[in-house]
């Protein structure tokens, strides 16, 4: 089962394996930027599935979707991946494995706070023996985000040893980021960001740029095109 699941991985996250861990690493923060409708949620769910397929535990925190909806996102994407590999007969077993390692937690619009998230993580650990390796936060409004919130989130990630992924919406009329900086409101906390991607429409595909890598703000076109529906790579990685 483990090999089969590993073989299904198609997320751009697999490109980050060079340092010996599958993502940006514990306590690190990764951001995904993109305009409305470009597929940020699909991308970030793809990150979650990738972590699950490599045997990690994932906490998906959603501020604007219901548990059912997030679950459906995962189910649809995973099923699509299995369909492509013609391995649909393993669906039930993989889905069960995924559900055991994933927890979806949603907040009604005004209920989210750093304290509540901290309490929830405590509860998941004590009541369910669940400590995530990857936390996905989809999504906070970047306009209202204080650098202090990002700092607190990053601290929580450090305490539990999880990597944190967040998606941010950019706007068509946002000024083009100045060289060496992250776009829009994210500039205010870019020091705390370890890794940043942007998703840009390119014909009928989506082009993936790395805009920050560890300490360096770069704008590296990886020359990677993603499927616009699934935001996945065309082929998988070898173990």
């Amino acid at each position: 089962m483990t090999n089969l699941m590993f073989g299904l991985r198609r997320s751009p996250r697999t490109l980050l394996e060079r340092d010996g861990h599958p993502g940006p690493g514990p306590g690190k923060l990764a951001l995904v930027f993109g305009r409305a409708g470009v597929g940020k949620t699909a991308f970030i769910v793809g990150i979650g599935i990738d972590a699950l397929l490599s045997g990690q535990k994932v906490l998906h925190v959603s501020l604007d979707r219901t548990v059912d909806k997030v679950r459906t996102w995962y189910d649809d994407l995973l099923m699509e991946m299995l369909r492509r590999e013609k391995k649909l007969e393993h669906w039930a077993a993989i889905q069960l494995e995924v559900e055991r390692h994933r927890h979806i937690h949603t907040y009604a619009s005004s209920a989210f706070s750093i304290d509540r998230l901290r309490q929830a993580l405590d509860l998941f650990r004590s009541a369910m023996d669940f400590t995530p390796d990857v936390v996905i936060l989809d999504r906070l409004d970047s306009e209202e985000l204080e650098p202090a919130t990002i700092e607190a989130l990053r601290a929580i990630a450090g305490e539990i040893g999880a990597e944190l992924w967040m998606a941010f919406r950019t706007h068509r009329d946002d000024p083009k980021p100045e060289g060496g900086h992250l776009p829009g409101a994210a500039r205010a906390f870019e020091d705390m960001v370890d890794l940043a991607f942007s998703l840009d429409p390119h014909g009928n595909r989506i082009r993936l740029h790395v805009i920050k890598d560890q300490d360096e703000v770069v704008d590296k076109d990886l020359n990677i095109l993603l499927n616009p529906k699934t935001l996945l790579l065309k082929s998988g990685v070898k173990r």
Binding site: T66, V67, D68, H105, A108, A111, L123
Partner: protein, 696 residues
Amino acid sequence: MTIDIQRVRNIGISAHIDSGKTTLTERILFYTQKIHTIHDVRGKDGVGATMDHMELERERGITITSASTYVEWNGHHVNIIDTPGHVDFTIEVERALRVLDGAILVLCAVAGVQSQSITVDRQMKRYKVPRIAFVNKCDRSGADPKRVSAALRDKLGLNSVLMQLPIGLEEKFEGVIDLVEMKAIYFHGDNGEELEVTEIPAEMLAEAEDARAELIDAASMFSDDLMEAALEDQATPELINQAVRNGVLALELTPVLMGSAYKNKGVQPLMDAVIALLPCPSDIPIEAVDLDDDNAPVELVSDTTRQTVAYVFKLDEGRYGQLTFIRVYQGTLNKGDTVFQTRTGKKIKIGRLVRMHADKMEDIVTGEAGDIVGLFGIDCHTGDTFVGDGPRLAMTSMYVPEPVISLAVTPVDSKAQTNMGKALSRFTKEDPTFRVGLDQESGETIVSGMGELHLEVYIERMRREYNAEVETGAPQVAYREALSRRAEFDYIHKKQTGGSGQYAKVVGYLEPCEEGDYEFVNDVRGGRIPTEFIGACDKGFKSALPKGGLIGFPIVGVRAVLEDGNSHAVDSSDMAFQTASLAAFREAYKRAKPRILEPVMRVSVEGPAEFQGAIYRSLMQRRGVIAGSADDGGFTRVDGDVPLAEMFGYSTDLRSATQGNAEFTMEFSRYAPVPRDVSDELLKEYGSNKGQEDES
């Protein structure tokens, strides 16, 4: 009498138990002048509300059977299906949803979106039923319709928008502000039947204007005309209603109305909204399938001149015999007409045609496309389609879940035996999720259904309505067996010792199959098995399915592929090939690593946030896999999948773990393999049962 289809509404009223749905229905019937006094569900007058027509329902204060009733409102013709509130009866809800064009989702102004509302909403999504929300009980302490509207967004992901504002709340609740017309509405008279439509109180004007702007913002997404008019500050009530209606029909907008049915407030504007905002039958595309054309979809049109197509969604055995509730989708159904029952091909003559008002009825001569009517003296099942002359059409079959729990019932004496037979035959016709079978070994009658309460209610009804006293066994989970890998077979059945002999050889393999319970593939080339025996092989394999080799439960998800074989000119027969196939199946099955599957329920538990830990633990202790949790500040909801076998007694345990503050619902989710330790235990249990039987 020809009715204008634009003036027909077929609506359902769905809600969490205790949201006041039955009271609301009762008020609607009163205001439409069908009944002359108002009774409450738990009324002091001992009469009970009109829609709850079964004694048992009266006693428990819940609605179990959906009765259809017909009312008129402002020149419109409205059929109301009262739907049950308990999740164990979801087949009732789903059958009702199938024939509805729209629905009112009733919510309690205090409790808001409760677990049952979530299940009901999920079902409505499944059947794509456009809906409006009614926030009831605004007179109760703690009522907050705006919070409920926000919860519709947060918990159900609905795009809710307020159509009204409350004037006062709790015991000071006086009426509502209509944000479309920008008027205040008060309800006077003994039963709120006198409406006073007047100016909005000055102190609420600013709030009302803000809320109206929000409404127009949300609605203008669905109408360019409204958007343009709004830019020039020219939005008219007609434009707003039309835009909201577009949004409702597209299932992208949920207008929120409010009131207190019990205090007779807000019901008439709700009926106006039903007419203005919910679809008429021709607004909803309906498909049937043509059975003579490989189930090709056929779009039906609400046109009285076309071939008649009608669908049976409910049977009811009453004082006057079997009453069949049908919805006419196309053409007309007239008294004296002859139609065909698609399932059996039988001709049926339409005798008495009625419109139902709960326990009372009016005779009519015609039911037209879009209408819901009752028929008498027709022998049929729910889910049947009746058609006039023309292609053999069937309404696409409804999704009917397999029962997940069963119970042995033993009548106490011979009189009870006879009565039980009558009762069971009626229940199975009415409810496709309620099944009756016979245990071949013990000779006991086994009833199966969707949950403990589902079966309990039928047992209770047997006692009360049929005077059939029965003893029941312990509830039994409906396990399944399935193979987990491919296994070959090569089997010869041979008995050729004098007299007419038997000879058959079958070669092939079994493999797991995801789609459906059983599939037979004939891959035999060159007539190695003569064509006339292929059917016997299929039959032989099939006969192995009802009883698996592990613990004796049905085998599902298997494909039997026949590739080769042999026959004898004289000694081969249907019987020989059947026997060979059955034996080949049983032998290969053992090598196909069979495993036990169990029904897994999707469980939602809801309670105050301080009990979150207790809720998690209660599910984890029951082999639950927790899928997610939702935090809305004070309340928390936990969703998980839990094996049915672990759910017995859960309500008691949950109550004690949360001091009675949490509640839960569950519905069948899927079959999943049981873990090794459970499997070992089941094998042991089955083995020991077997041992006992062998001894006896």
